[in-house]
Symmetry: C2
Subunit: 332 residues, 2 copies
């Protein structure tokens, strides 16, 4: 089969619609700051009508990650579903132009391409309202055995656990990967997503379906329903082969059965928009992981990519990450 890809990402194919907003906008519209809420088309229209001037830029958690991986020089592919509409073409153009393989044909019928209406508050925090649309059509039919087996790592979004069909796709991909002796990575995605599927996510790690787990601090706390970070890390260590927990400006920790390694964050002049921070951290870590770098170096690559993406609007890197990593002497 060969290692055609370093990472194949499977996730929701989404175009982000980003606008700045004050905190009271979130309150007035019943949004939980920092989280992702699934919305229907009517609420999407109401939010869009109320929000300020926006920019449109391709997003989607796992898609952002493989685009980041490609920017490091890695070989990535993405599996997700869009409609044959304007935003679907925007999504397809952007991911292919970033050098990521995307083979799927857009659907000619059904709901329109997914959008996430993202409000960025003055502190740089993003609050997401996602209309899944055509992304919900992702099913096991989209999972091609030869593609999955050709990637060193298959990377899955926790968000996939929401629609039943996407969950089937997730499970199929994980099985193919393991049969082909590939690694399966999962990001927990969002504390509310964790709240919806806590037991299932813990089981996926415990039973070895997931070889590499990404979580941020609030997702990990949600996983163990605790405010005690160290306790949650200790509990995670009992079950995880490899886990990376990101902690914003406090950096990240890499958790394995024999040790816990902490790495520092990179300083950022001004946090403009945190959209994509976790996705880009995963991009850097996965690049290092797929290339056999030490976990601490991989985590620093992740921290570097996260620092780049939070310094501007949008969840896709504006700088070439390989070049940036060479400037910082993380890569040769």
């Amino acid at each position: 089969m060969g290692d055609r890809y370093d990472v194949i990402g499977i996730g929701n194919a989404i175009v982000d619609v980003l606008a700045r907003a004050e905190d009271d906008f979130l309150v007035r519209h019943g949004m939980v700051k920092g989280s992702m809420a699934l919305i229907d088309e009517a609420r999407a229209e109401a939010i869009y009508a109320a929000m300020g001037p926006a920019i449109e830029i391709s997003g989607g958690s796992a898609a952002n990650t493989v685009v980041g991986l490609a920017s490091f020089g890695g070989r990535g592919a993405f599996v997700g579903t869009v409609k044959d509409d304007t935003l679907g073409h925007v999504f397809m153009h952007d991911i292919r132009a970033a050098g990521v393989g995307f083979a799927a044909e857009p659907f000619t019928n059904g709901p329109s391409t997914a959008r996430s209406y993202i409000l960025v508050t003055p502190d740089g925090e993003r609050t997401m309202n996602t209309y899944l649309g055509a992304a919900q059509l992702l099913s096991a039919a989209e999972i091609a055995e030869d593609e999955i087996a050709a990637a060193k790592v298959v990377y899955l979004e926790g968000y996939l656990w929401d629609p039943q069909n996407a969950k089937d796709a997730f499970v199929k991909a994980a099985k193919i990967a393991h049969r082909a002796k590939r690694a399966v990575a999962l990001t927990l995605s969002d504390p509310f997503c964790v709240d919806r599927y806590r037991d299932e996510f813990i089981a996926l790690v415990k039973d070895g379906t997931v070889d590499l787990l990404f979580a941020n601090e609030s997702e990990l706390k949600s996983l163990y329903e605790t405010a005690d970070f160290d306790g949650a890390v200790a509990a995670l260590r009992e079950i995880a082969k490899l886990a990376v927990v990101t902690r914003s400006e406090k950096g990240a920790i890499v958790v394995t059965p024999d040790k816990i390694e902490a790495v520092e964050a990179f300083a950022v002049d001004s946090v403009v928009d945190t959209t994509g921070a976790g996705d880009l951290f995963a991009a850097g870590f996965l690049f290092g992981f797929a290339h056999g770098l030490p976990h601490a170096t991989s985590a620093r690559l992740g921290a570097l990519a996260a620092a780049e993406v939070i310094s501007h609007l949008g969840a896709r890197p504006e700088r070439n990450l390989a070049e940036l990593a060479r400037e910082k002497r993380l890569l040769l």
Copy 2:
């Protein structure tokens, strides 16, 4: 009638599709760096397929200007035409969300909403390729007498001189404005646009159709087919009641029959993308002009808005310009 608006802008309603590119991309695709070229749909598709990952953000020269005016706290309206499609809705949302009046109904038939494929080179210079689409449907029918007469200034793009119907709209708007004792402002838009309509633009200033002319250095040189900037300024002074010539980092000059005043540019840490620099300069100047400020102050407001817009991607301001002007003590 009353002063319902400070400025009503008339122009092409365009959504920008912005991507970074190296200089050799421009060469390979036969683009003239720094200019605007009109393209057909086939070339639009070819350019889009070749260009890198992009962001979509509302644009259009006069539209950018009235959005900038609104950000200064001015009352603006915009006249332009879009189709009832995804990008048309993006354009309408963004201009209304910026607080600008936009009354037109989108067309349900005909060409799709205009896009400009903008390549931003590492020096921050933008090169534009515009598919006019539905913007070409702008005609005298869209010019409502009561709207034009209710604005202190009607602001027109030189780009409107390209399609015959838009030229008719331009002429009609100018006549209404003058009958209502309003000022007519024109931006020369682009040196190649000037080259196409040199004699007509000079006649518009000479015969008093245009009360206030905006040009940048290369447009002014193109107008008089000379490399001699001072000579061109002297020639302009012979015919113009009021003209403002922008000179990038050298600031701007305000030309009237009795004097020439120079104002400085604002320093910019890093020029990210010059898209919209001239449009936003005009926004600041027009805000000051409509509020009876001295020309030099108005020009400094223009310079401030231009500095803001070139410090990030896209031609719409990210900061509130009134707030920025108060920080710089240009407004109370």
